[in-house]
């Protein structure tokens, strides 16, 4: 991994009380069940967890839900009932009703508190019902929002087959599955066989991180342009198509919140992690692709031109944001990448709140942020890990940034006080990776600025009578 090269001026890190608003990490179910089409997610928790999923995430049940709550009742908590038998009963029901290829158990705070041994139960249960069970402990005691995805992917790392698995004739059923997978994979994702002259000869490369399918295609093509073949994605569209991982394979993350998955790939699968800035914004995308090229000893082709072209095409948006300031309250761990891109766009960033800062996994991104600030002549942002929203709001009132990127709880109150906001969750769900989607990020960023500049002509700025006592 690249470490930050020493700079005259260093980023400043701070850690506050952690009294901030974010979503519970079990929310990852909302996007992962859509991403992994043959999955079923079972969240094992209380009414509080269930109501969260239903309400705050706006996830509603339609005709064919592929996730559910295993709601723990008083008798479960007091251990009068046998966890194993109870879970077996529910899994059998799920198998009967939905027959998924995998059931993902999402642990919660409650399973942690009552020390329900999900990892211990899973192997036996799996054998009995005949469906793989992956256990992820995405609870709110240890993690924030997007880190839920990290816990699920980290758990799936162990389930990726090795190429030996594919050849060994031992488990017939499984092998058939994988054969199917390979054929299927070939047809859809990568039409060319490995030997194709279009590709350089390089070690297997697997990308980890859940992104919408169009992004998968775009990034795969982006690397193909450099003659690099993507060996697979974790997660894939189907659980049965998990990528093959062998010792010594190369892996690279596409999302900044996947440090546990990265660690798991290195430690348990002996893969080599390529540490790069994340492919968000044309600058990040170029750096990401370049890093892969450099690791494989490939001379990148046309990347500088590509980046320059994208910047040119963004000019209409850049004119709006240049010289403006943006404040990140901290919510989804995309903050550093977005801040780096926006500084490159000409914005200044007084503070970046972030739930959790893995300085190793994000090292290359932090280094690029620093470099970008120096090159753009922008002051280095203060990075606040585990922020305190109350204090942040006081700082926001003081510095009056042009835009605040915030969780849903504070957006309306800030707007009512004349401060432009954008929900951080929108960046979680929008397609923001790669060269072409830089436009979409700026579309999101500039929307409040454009909207509110038309409203302020009407004098509709502050919509509360007395200032709140903050």
């Amino acid at each position: 991994m690249t470490l930050a090269t020493p700079q005259p001026e260093k980023l400043e890190f701070d850690c506050d009380t952690g009294n901030y608003h974010t979503f519970c990490p079990i929310s990852c179910v909302a996007w992962l069940y859509q991403k992994i089409e043959d999955s079923f997610f079972l969240v094992i928790g209380t009414k509080t967890c269930g109501y969260f999923l239903q309400n705050a995430m706006g996830v509603m049940i339609f005709a064919e839900p592929r996730y559910a709550m295993a709601e723990l009742e008083e008798s479960d908590i007091s251990a009068q009932l046998n966890d194993y038998e109870e879970l077996k009963r529910l899994c059998e029901q799920i198998k009967r009703d939905r027959n998924p290829s995998v059931i993902v158990f999402i642990g919660t705070c409650t399973t942690e508190i009552i020390k329900m041994d999900l990892e211990g139960l899973a192997p036996k249960l799996e054998g009995e019902i005949g469906i793989p069970i992956v256990v992820a402990r995405a609870n709110g005691l240890d993690y924030a929002f997007t880190q839920g995805e990290d816990t699920v992917l980290a758990a799936m790392v162990e389930r990726c087959p090795t190429s030996d698995d594919l050849e060994s004739p031992t488990d017939k059923a499984e092998r058939n599955n994988f054969q199917k997978l390979l054929n299927f994979g070939r047809k859809t994702d990568t039409p060319e066989p490995t030997e194709s002259p279009e590709y350089h000869d390089h070690p297997n490369l697997v990308i980890f991180g859940s992104v919408p399918d169009p992004i998968v295609t775009q990034m795969t093509l982006e690397l193909k342009k450099q003659g690099i073949k993507v060996g697979g994605w974790l997660p894939a569209k189907r659980y049965t198509e998990l990528p093959v991982l062998d010792e010594g394979d190369y892996v690279i993350g596409i999302n900044p919140f996947l440090s546990r998955t990265a660690t798991g790939l290195m430690r348990r699968r002996k893969c080599k992690l390529i540490g790069a800035p994340f492919p968000i914004g044309p600058d990040g995308t170029r750096a990401w692709v370049e890093k892969v090229c450099s690791v494989f000893g490939i001379e990148p082709q046309g990347l500088a031109e590509r980046e320059a072209k994208i910047w040119e095409s963004l000019e209409d948006y850049l004119a709006i944001v240049r010289g403006k300031s943006v404040y990140f309250m901290g919510d989804n761990l995309l903050e550093i990448s977005l801040a780096r891109f926006l500084v490159r766009c000409g914005m200044t960033v007084p503070e970046i709140g972030i739930p959790y800062m893995d300085k190793r996994y994000q090292a290359a991104e932090l280094a690029l942020l620093e470099k970008t600030c120096h090159e753009m002549g922008a002051p280095l942002p203060k990075i606040t890990e585990k922020p305190d929203n109350y204090k942040q709001i006081q700082r926001i009132q003081e510095i009056q940034p042009d835009l605040v990127i915030t969780g849903m709880a504070h957006a309306n109150p800030l707007e009512a006080r004349g401060i432009n906001t954008k929900w951080s969750v929108e960046f979680t769900f929008a397609q923001i990776h790669g060269f072409a989607n830089a436009r979409d990020i700026l579309e999101l960023v500039t929307r409040p600025l454009r909207r509110n500049s038309s409203l302020s002509d009407l004098g509709w700025d502050k919509l509360v009578k007395e200032e709140a006592k903050v």
Binding site: P25, I44, T48, N55, A56, Q93, N412
Partner: protein, 508 residues
Amino acid sequence: MKLAYWMYAGPAHIGTLRIASSFKNVHAIMHAPLGDDYFNVMRSMLERERDFTPVTTSIVDRHVLAQGSQEKVVDNIVRKDHEETPDLIVLTPTCTSSILQEDLQNFVERASLEAQCDVLLADVNHYRVNELQAADRTLQQVVQFYIEKARKKGELPSDRTEKPSVNIIGMTTLGFHNNHDRTELVKLMGDLGIEVNLVLPDKASVKQIKQLPRAWFNLVPYREVGPATATYLQEQFDQPTVDITPMGIVETARCIRTIQKVLNEQGAAVDYEAFIDEQTRFVSNAAWFSRSIDCQNLTGKKAVVFGDSTHAAAMTKILTREMGIHVVLAGTYCQYDEAWFRQQVSEYCDEVLISEDHGAIADKIATIEPAAIFGTQMERHVGKRLDIPCGVIAAPIHIQNFPVGYRPFLGYEGSNQLVDLIYNSFTLGMEDHLLEIFGGHDTKEVITKTVSADGDLNWTADAMTELNRVPGFVRGKVKRNTEKFARNHGHASIDVEVMYAAKESVGA
């Protein structure tokens, strides 16, 4: 353990927080993991609240799990006391953190020593009660706390107000159309010459609670939040309770007559008959609508009603008594209120369903095939799938239940709104006629709908033109029926002939 896909009522702490944050200058501290603080999102996003939600989480993390909260909760209470100078801080766990069985009462006592404000632990069993029961309980607890406090200080007023007056109890933040109902009830009381002593808890200060005993009676419009407080006040101060929900013309009149009786027993000598008659026959449009020719088409139409006790019971009565609609099934998810609900609706419907299982009600709807549903957002989704219109009459709360315009459910204006809701929920008049012609009422094979929507059949240009002549709102139905016919009769493409054959076959 139970497999759950959907909840009609939230967990207990949501109820407690709704009460705490309804009051002015009351802060709530939630002893909970980070991800439990979504109440703030609900309030800020659904209700479009302009102020910061007065709820702070004292975070339970790995550290707390290992060592206990120790000073954390106390520190957070004291900190909020400094920062916000609230009158009261309410501490609540969530069902998750309540498993830790920490001595929260002890934290409250310690915090009370340092804090200037009052500190109270919400006394709710998080595993046995839901949001609604917890809200009812918390409101009663706060009221009792301040009544007792005032009594100790000798500050309780001993007399009633000079003129007849009322406490309206049960209006809360994130309540179903509560904000508009509040306005409507205050107006109604004004029309009746009754002073509003206090509306509780919405926008009230806890300092005003000691004034509660001055009112002549308590009006509790909702079954879900308020009854416990009214019962307490009745016991303590012999204050009568009026708990008839003034929803629909008939029940509004019954509520007003009960108020009249209560006031006259206390020597007021009021007579509201003329007012009721005037409102019913000439001011409100609801009664006239029921009589109008338009409404005739509704007679005998089948409906299913489902919601909280209050709204489901009231709606059932309105549909049957005021509109002549046939309520096949009336149901509620308030299982704890079963006896009352049955007693209220049994004579107005064929069947009663008491269930928290959204699948049970969905199955009923599918078999009954009503012309309209009146339910929650969940039944609206079920209706969408089955192509049955649904009017939303009860929580779970949704952003659509905070319309910018005035939409009360209670009182005379509420009755007008309900008429519109009911009318718009049925397919009527011209539309009905067209459906008849093209056989649109055949809803038995709902399952094939998604299949036919995929359109493996070709429409000839002529047939397409003909189809486009069919009014837009029934076009989909006509298309589906025609395609179903074509498929059943083995036509690979649809021309005008097939179209009319289909129409005839349905007519036959």
